[in-house]
């Protein structure tokens, strides 16, 4: 098998067999329909929507519309199918949709009066257009999703947020280790200070081994640090630099953290974009389905209108 060198460009065309077949058939049928329309207009004395030719186009448009919706849905729900059959069916769905629109246009014979038929035609146009836009979105949006996903992953395919969190954690650990080292170097000095005269500091009223009970003077407060008191090495008591000092720049006291936060924001934005693009694809499909329902309704309304005109004529004959 040949190795792919194309990658994933924005605009690509990979014409498969079903795509070629349906394209040829669509073009042939559109040319045939247009040819028949020109011929009918020249030869017939009554080129109107309610002539024989008009009815033929109307029947063909309705048939194409029904087949476009039923064939693909049936194939999709069927359990007996082979690999690639659904793709072929999807191409026929597109072909039939385009043909339905062409036949509906020809059925109008240029009459776009604001009647039921025109509304049904508008419905059909919006339906086919939504399908065409949907196909374009189906090609463009997944690439945008992949682009967003690649930003949320490292070059080795790991989660970038996890990677950044680990880096920040390492920084924090490194800094806190530094603080602990400072604290350790300070501790002996404190202990030395405390050990100057433990008896005096611990109990100032002690006189040569005989000491009074500790509680005799409750006004006495020890100057040494109690566990309840805040640790001076804690984050909030750390050195606060002067405004003009270069240490006052954001992240100067925790080097590298700001870069990580910026990177984290980029990843978060990429993930939000990914969700947004997925929503576009999903809701466009919903728009297409909604337009199918609206168009069916408009066509039924038009058929009801057409039959209300036709039935009395047939009954009269």
């Amino acid at each position: 098998m040949q190795i792919d060198r194309k990658g994933y460009p924005w605009f690509f065309l990979d014409p498969g067999k079903p795509w070629k077949n349906t394209l040829i058939v669509t073009m042939l049928l559109v040319v045939l329909a247009l040819g028949s329309f020109i011929l009918y207009q020249r030869m017939s004395p009554d080129p109107t929507p309610d002539s024989i030719g008009g009815y033929t186009y109307a029947i063909l448009a309705t048939l194409c519309m029904i087949l476009a919706s039923i064939l693909y849905t049936r194939r999709r729900r069927s359990r007996k199918r082979q690999v690639g059959e659904l793709n072929t069916s999807l191409h026929w769905h597109v072909t039939l949709g385009i043909l339905a629109l062409v036949f509906a246009f020809l059925h109008s014979f240029g009459n776009f009066n604001p009647r039921t038929g025109t509304y049904a035609l508008y419905g059909m146009i919006s339906l086919v257009l939504s399908g065409v836009i949907g196909r374009i979105l189906d090609r463009m949006v997944p690439r945008m999703i992949a682009n967003a996903a690649s930003k949320a992953l490292t070059e080795y395919g790991d989660d970038r947020i996890e990677y950044i969190s680990d880096s920040v954690q390492q920084l924090v650990t490194h800094n806190s280790q530094g603080l602990q080292t400072i604290a350790k170097t300070k501790t002996p000095v404190k202990q030395q200070k405390r050990q100057v005269n433990p008896v005096t500091l611990g109990n100032p009223v002690s006189t040569g081994g005989s000491s009074l009970p500790e509680s005799w003077d409750i006004a006495y407060i020890s100057l040494s640090e109690t566990p309840q008191e805040a640790n001076r090495d804690a984050q909030q008591y750390r050195f606060v630099p002067d405004r003009k000092s270069p240490l006052n720049t954001p992240g100067a006291l925790l080097p590298g953290v700001n870069d990580h936060i910026t990177e984290l924001k980029i990843v978060q934005q990429a993930m939000q974009r990914e969700q947004f693009y997925r929503a576009i694809v999903r809701y466009w499909r919903f728009v297409h389905v909604a337009l199918v329902i609206i168009t069916i309704g408009l066509v039924l309304w038009h058929l009801e209108f057409a039959f209300s005109l036709l039935i009395p004529v047939f009954l009269h004959h």
């Binding site: 792919d4 793709n87 189906d138 996903a149």
Partner: protein, 103 residues
């Protein structure tokens, strides 16, 4: 209809270890490929799995990857409950990386 409207906040891309895990769990029943409306030519599941994990990407698999539009039709028929769409997304990311690497 309601299922289409229901908000789904899950981010679908998966990391490489997760994709590898899913591919190792694949039983090769072919159900995902049968349900795919984007697949135009016959590709076997083992070739797709092999090229998804690592190595070079052949032309038919690349064509399929580009054609995949993440509809998710492959997810529900999978008897092992795997996410073929996420695996395809990983392949797409790999194809994009090929572009960036100047292939």
């Amino acid at each position: 209809m309601y299922r289409m409207l229901k908000p789904n906040p899950v981010i679908l891309h998966k990391t490489e270890p997760q994709v590898q895990q899913e591919i190792h769990a694949c039983i090769g029943c072919n159900e995902c490929l049968l349900a795919c409306p984007a697949l135009a030519e016959p590709i076997t599941i083992d070739v797709l799995n092999r090229e998804t994990i690592a190595g070079t990407i052949s032309e038919p698999v690349a064509r399929f990857t580009r054609a995949c539009y993440q509809c998710g039709a492959c997810v529900s028929p999978c008897p092992a409950g795997l996410h073929r769409d996420a695996m395809m997304m990983w392949l797409k990311v790999r194809l994009l990386a090929q572009n960036k690497n100047g292939w």
